[in-house]
Amino acid sequence: MDTPQNTAPQNRVPQTGQVLHRHCSIVPPYLLVRLAKLDDPRFAQAAAAARHSLLRDSHIRELRGGAHPLPQERIQPARTPGESDRTISDAGGQERLPGRQVRTERQPAGPDPAANEAFDSLGATQSLFWTEFGRDSIDGLGLPMNATVHYGQNYDNAFWDGERMVFGDGDGEVFNRFTISPSVIGHELTHGVTQFTANLEYRDQSGALNESISDVFGALVEQYAADQSTSEASWLIGEGLFTDQVEGVALRSMKAPGTAYNDDVLGKDPQPDTMAGYIETEDDNGGVHLNSGIPNRAFYLVAEALGGNAWETPGQIWYDTLTGTGLTRRSDFAAFAAATAETAARLYGTGGAAHDAVVTAWATVGVVVGVRSELPATEFASPTASGGSAAPLPPE
């Protein structure tokens, strides 16, 4: 595998004894050392960011482990299938959900870009799922799409909480607001779709598949809205999310995992692009945001091989696999690969171009269809930055 030393920014440890800059953001401590050396006023606001962006209040419910949520009983006017039913709320910088309602389906755009971006991208996501796959919203039954923007202070994240999408504003120095990227919004909504379908356990390989599926349909939301073919699309997740102070184009690249950013501050994108680089780690629920690069690239390779629009044949294969009966909650890469190959054969013919493209793609990323992969034994190094301890600073 790629050695972590070459790929993981976590390995770039500062020298002991260096004084950390009084900043706090998504930037790891060892990187703050570099920031401190820069003495750059552009980063002045990073200080308080992460403290407030990290944590959330206790009243957000945890996901109901293992079970598919029951469809909510709703009393509402007759609804035309496929029509979106969006409600955007504003947390106003608090960590309380849902926040104040600011826009519903039939209301016009307001002055807040974040609310409008969330509204528009939820619509784009509904459009893709309904028009191309015949899926009516997150649960397939027209579940209202609820989102909250302006969650927390300088909150560097977006997530699906089991019932709604939640978007932070970022810290303004490393991250812009998370609604800025349609692929991020499509990613979060797709977590809801996965919850109602394969419900892949959010850990290890099944978790990396859960992540990858969100990236796949997040990318397709952008491509579909922009009418971009496979060759025209960026295949980036979270394009525009980094501020212009970061040397990077996006959070992840499906076409070339590991190349989305390479920054003096953030380090290098650590995603592997084949099983040879598979990262064994206890962090990030077993590296779900890292190893997702492998199935992400497999999807891209299918799209590249088939050409045209990725939401057509490739998207249909992935969608039917996600919503079919071939997966369990703990399916691993090999099982998912086998399920996609079976779906491709069933939909487009055994030995057809689609089936061949799927089998070849998985082989290219080192996943043998239906055979559990031998994982490299290398542990993902987990160093700690110690710079802060040498010069303790009082709480603010």
């Binding site: 920014p9 950390l20 800059h21 009084r22 900043h23 706090c24 998504i26 930037v27 790891p28 401590p29 200080a47 308080a48 992460a50 403290r51 990290l54 944590l55 959330r56 209040d57 206790s58 957000i60 945890e62 996901l63 482990g65 293992g66 560097d156 994240n157 977006a158 997530f159 699906w160 089991g162 991250f175 990613h187 979060e188 977590h191 919850q195 356990e201 959010y202 859960n210 969100s214 999310l241 959070l251 953030l266 780690t281 206890e282 962090d283 990030d284 629920n285 945001h289 700690t384 930055a385 110690s386 802060g388 301890s389 040498a390 010069a391 303790p392 600073l393 009082p394 709480p395 603010e396």
Partner: protein, 88 residues
């Protein structure tokens, strides 16, 4: 004695780590008392929600992994203290 807080996950999948060496703090006794008071043995496994942060907190011989929704009460206090000691 040291305490290490590592945050991983999130939509971006970028890891942050903060560390405090208790004996180097201006109030090491307060730190030690606080660390000993934490409910290390009461942590239960919690399924993480998609794209939530995950926290690993180490203070030998203890090590716990908390999902973001579990970082409340004394754990949230700990995370804030460790970050503050790192100047954040």
């Amino acid at each position: 004695m040291k305490v290490i807080v590592s945050r991983s996950g999130g939509m971006a999948g970028i890891r942050l780590t903060w560390e405090v060496r208790v004996e180097e703090q201006p109030d090491p006794n307060t730190w030690a008392t606080f660390l000993n008071s934490l409910p290390w043995d009461d942590v239960t496994d919690s399924e993480a929600g998609p794209d939530r942060f995950a926290y690993r907190i180490r203070c030998a011989p203890h090590e716990v992994v908390l999902a973001e929704p579990q970082v409340n009460g004394p754990w949230r206090d700990l995370v804030n203290r460790v970050k503050a000691a790192n100047g954040m």
